[in-house]
Symmetry: C2
Subunit: 223 residues, 2 copies
């Protein structure tokens, strides 16, 4: 049985970015194996990658001979395998855990899937959506989602320097890549001051900075 953690990802993939943050927050070293999502029609569709992950999506984590797919399943797995309190990605109380997981889903189910590359490609092929229309579509869903997240965070006594209290959690690991995405789409963020404040606080931490798309080995030299 092989040992060590291997992450199949792509520098710009929001879901892989989440997992990089989680691995860094937990202080786990890992090997990066880039999967280029665009080149040659997408390396994620290649038979050898499909054999590993039939869904043909990133990220995918190898832990020895275990194959774990889906960013949220990977984060929960890492937290269960490495339950040390000081690097916990979830709070200890059930109510806090539910709050963090709700924030996670507000990103991973209600925003991110709608702006994914494959969805934008489908908008183009099925409805002839041009670049401006695809941008409008993406901004629409991010804005809706951020409105709700802002309301959740502002209203909640548990909100601290980070999404939940004074240590970063899974919610922050999901929120930061989504804000990064919003900036790419040039969505004005003035209406989401708490989201923006937390984004900045997270990016002061090495765990987040070293997970950023631009510093990944497969990122192009100048972005």
């Amino acid at each position: 049985m092989a040992s060590g953690l291997v992450l199949y990802g792509y520098w710009r993939s929001s879901a892989a970015y989440r997992v990089r943050i989680a691995l860094n927050l937990k202080g786990l070293s890992y090997e990066t194996r880039p999967v280029h999502l665009v080149r040659g029609g997408g390396e994620q569709h290649a038979p050898d990658y499909r054999a590993l992950n039939p869904q043909g999506m990133v990220p995918c984590l190898l832990d020895g001979d275990r194959v774990i797919t889906q960013s949220l399943a990977i984060m929960e797995y890492l937290d269960e395998m490495h339950p040390e309190l000081e690097t916990a990605l979830l709070p200890v109380d059930a109510r806090g855990r539910a709050q963090v997981r709700a924030l996670v889903m507000m990103v991973t189910s209600d925003i991110h899937p709608l702006g994914n590359l494959r969805v934008l490609q489908q908008l183009e092929s099925q409805f002839g959506a041009d670049e401006a229309q695809r941008a409008e579509w993406s901004r629409h869903w991010i804005a809706l989602g951020f409105q709700a997240i802002e309301a959740m965070l502002v209203d909640n006594a548990a909100t601290g320097r980070y999404c939940h209290g004074e240590t970063p959690s899974m919610a922050d690991a999901c929120l930061v890549p989504q804000v990064y995405n919003a900036l790419r789409w040039k969505l004005p963020l003035d209406d989401y001051p708490t989201v923006w404040r937390i984004y900045q606080a997270c990016n002061e931490l090495e765990a987040f900075r070293q997970a950023a798309p631009e510093v990944q080995p497969d990122a192009p030299a100048a972005v």
Copy 2:
């Protein structure tokens, strides 16, 4: 502090359907409070509901004075609050838990969000998508997702009568509403024999039958 579980949902909401299954599997009784997603522009947008859930979506669970939103967060919460092994919604081993959560996300992130009512409405308003085009769009994402889920299930020694082993889990609670949806969209299911077999096995259980959209108090008399 009030006691008892209250579920805000809508008979046809896939996400609420998941939670009803989970509550039934855990043997928890609850009060249903219907939120009509279409009538009057959608009761989920009304100020009193927004005060409870700023996102304006269903489901939303009240546990005494706790408000829990997002179907997956609710299911995890129920499993943590009621950890009895015989009604566990997740397996005990980390690998199995990761597998179940990955299947969950394949539905909750990669299929369901793309066929949501609000997304179909946006396709109509932004691209003038007619009913046939919206149906094509919905079937496209369900088919892609079911291909991947079928491959995951067929390939896995842990697959049993249900998605994971011989007892239903969170994965089944997510898969069944998605198959229900696929049937509504008239997606042929011949290519997903394992998905179909598990759907039928689940629907032999009272927990699933009593969660079905048609038997909810807010369902129209004849569907």
